[in-house]
């Protein structure tokens, strides 16, 4: 038995409360992980982005190594909305952990239609992947610019009553403006961020290492970028920020929380160690206990000297 001051790991993201702040990042998680640990220990379940129709995804090789990370050009292989509704939703709805469904589309109309179609009982929130660099030519995505972000999020907002999260891209030069545009258009939270566009070449064959030539970088190497953007967005916006990018240790989780994230998503780290999310939850609880902390509020947005820098 602990004393009166039990650690409360629950994380609030707008109107939602999760039992802890650790959730998977879209595209790095599936029912297959249930072979390794009990998925109900997670704060929430975030599924691979789905699109409306069926799609095969990019040519192989779809992944390659880089120093302290990886590059992927999976694309969005999708079995479509019907498969999601009939096959996937019943499986995920049976868990206690809330379900977050990630969606994407090539056009605003298609996006809005899909958003309304996935707003089904059993779905807790919708994550709009407006940032996936693999979909549109040369990595252009809605979240590259404030105006396209505002347009698509406005339409998505009108299409659903569920909490709506906008997943941003680190490839934009205007992260703060894009974050504000998403907030102004009615997003309930920001997921910061998706992968950073990159490339790798095999010098012996002089061929790109990825079938799609370019791909998204993830893993520890991109953590400082995602952390910086989390800090920027949390300062610029009133809606909650969910940090994502390179998180693999307890220290990483704490950095994002201190920078202003209300919760975090873990992606690539699960490929190196499939049990990492379960471990992070235990480690966070132990760390808080050892510091005498009882609530995440004592960690979130507690950066010292937050205004010292010259960059906005």
């Amino acid at each position: 038995m602990r004393d009166l001051q039990t650690v409360d790991l629950s994380a609030r993201v707008g109107a939602l409360t999760f039992k802890n702040p650790i959730m998977p990042a879209s595209g790095t998680f599936s029912e297959d992980l249930a072979d390794v640990f009990d998925l109900d220990v997670l704060g929430a379940h975030v599924l691979k982005t789905i699109m409306h129709g069926t799609r095969t995804g990019n040519p192989t090789p779809r992944v390659c190594d880089m120093q302290a990370g990886m590059i992927n050009a999976i694309g969005i292989p999708s079995k479509g909305i019907d498969y999601f509704r009939d096959e996937m939703l019943p499986y995920w709805a049976a868990f206690n952990a809330p379900l977050v469904v990630s969606i994407s589309a090539h056009s605003v109309d298609e996006f809005a239609q899909l958003c309304s179609e996935v707003s089904l009982p059993g779905v807790t929130a919708i994550e709009a992947n407006i940032s996936c660099p693999n979909i549109e030519a040369d990595g252009n995505a809605f979240a590259m610019r404030p105006d396209t972000t505002h347009e698509v999020v406005t339409r998505l907002r009108a299409a659903t009553d569920l909490p709506l999260w906008a997943k941003l891209t680190p490839n934009t030069g205007e992260p703060v403006e894009v974050a504000r545009a998403a907030q102004d258009a009615g997003a309930d939270a920001l997921v910061v961020a998706n992968t950073m566009l990159g490339m790798s070449i095999d010098i012996d064959t002089r061929r790109p290492r990825l079938g799609n030539v370019m791909g998204g970088m993830s893993g520890p190497a991109v953590k400082p970028i995602a952390l910086r953007m989390t800090y920027q967005c949390a300062r610029a916006c009133d809606i909650p920020v969910i940090g994502c990018g390179g998180i693999s240790t307890l220290e990483d989780v704490l950095e994002f929380l201190i920078a202003g994230a209300s919760a975090v998503q873990v992606g690539t780290a699960t490929f190196q160690s499939p049990t990492v999310m379960a471990r992070l939850i235990t480690e966070l609880e132990d760390w808080m206990t050892s510091r005498g902390l009882i609530s995440l509020d004592q960690i979130i947005n507690t950066l010292e000297a937050p205004n010292a820098g010259v960059f906005k």
Binding site: G27, D32, L33, R62, F271, S273
Partner: protein, 280 residues
């Protein structure tokens, strides 16, 4: 043993044993087999030793000097023994990850994830088995030899290599009572044209109920053709670049021809073993 291997402990769903686990093993030995290959023998915890031939592990490779392999590397199970707590991999040094593996020394701790994927099946009416493999594919097919003996099946192993001294696993196949036929590039005995009559002669004698093969697309086409002509089923172990190895990321897909359609399957999850007739 000085070291007690441990598995990473995480909550497990009630009444459900994890099918695979992340585990710390300890290196028993890591020795060159011939010019190109090395054999890594590990002390492994029992929890990860319910293996099937054809399954694989995802290895977290050490970082060799100046190189930084990040993703785990898939490696077929070469040998395993639950009673003895032993797990073996036969690997070819080709890049950063496998160069990292080559740095492992006896006593080193080493993190593995597995066993993963679907292994070979050996259906009841497959009494006479023919295995045709080349290069490192022989590592993948080697555990079939023990399985064949345990099930009392007759196995013929056609081992192909660039030159006779580079053929692998011959002793292992023979120790399990398999008949071994060595073919190689030097004398041209390894070409599909040379192999076809050799295999057809066996088929004519009623000596082949099923084929097993791996990797090489020339061997696959030959066996697909022979299989179709003579109505002989078979299985192939395939490779693809992987990230998660568990089925989550969709990195490892390949195309298969199933019922007149081309579909994609994950090598790590639906495979790495597939019906020869469906492989492309």
């Amino acid at each position: 043993m000085n070291h007690i291997p441990t598995t990473v402990s995480v909550p497990v769903p009630q009444g459900l044993r994890p099918r695979c686990a992340e585990a710390t093993c300890f290196v028993r030995s890591n020795t060159p087999v011939n010019g190109e290959y090395r054999l890594l023998t590990l002390d492994a915890p029992e929890a990860i030793l319910d293996c099937q031939p054809g399954q694989f592990f995802q290895l977290l490779c050490p970082q060799p000097d100046g190189e930084h392999p990040f993703l785990r590397r898939p490696m077929s199970i070469y040998g395993y023994d639950k009673a003895e707590g032993r797990l073996e991999f036969l690997y070819k040094v080709t890049g950063a990850g496998t160069r990292g593996l080559a740095t492992l020394r006896a006593g080193d701790a080493f993190n593995v994830l597995g066993p993963l994927g679907q292994g070979f099946s050996m259906q009841d009416d497959w009494q006479n088995l023919m295995l045709v493999a080349r290069g490192v594919g022989l590592a993948t097919l080697a555990p079939l030899a023990r399985m064949a003996r345990e099930k009392g099946r007759k196995l013929t192993a056609i081992c192909s290599a660039r030159s006779p001294e580079l053929t692998m696993s011959v002793d292992l196949f023979e120790s399990y009572g398999a008949e071994v036929i060595i073919v190689h590039d030097k004398d041209g005995s390894s070409t599909p044209e040379a192999l076809r009559p050799l295999i057809e002669a066996r088929i004519a004698k009623g000596d082949v109920d099923a084929f097993y093969t791996c990797g090489s697309s020339r061997l696959l086409r030959l066996l697909q053709d022979l299989g179709e002509t003579h109505g002989i089923p078979g299985e192939i172990a395939m490779e693809q670049q992987m990230a998660c190895g568990l089925g989550m990321c969709q990195a490892c897909v390949r195309s298969f021809r199933v019922g007149g359609r081309v579909i994609q399957r994950r090598v790590c999850r639906e495979g790495p073993v597939f019906p020869i007739s469906e492989a492309m």
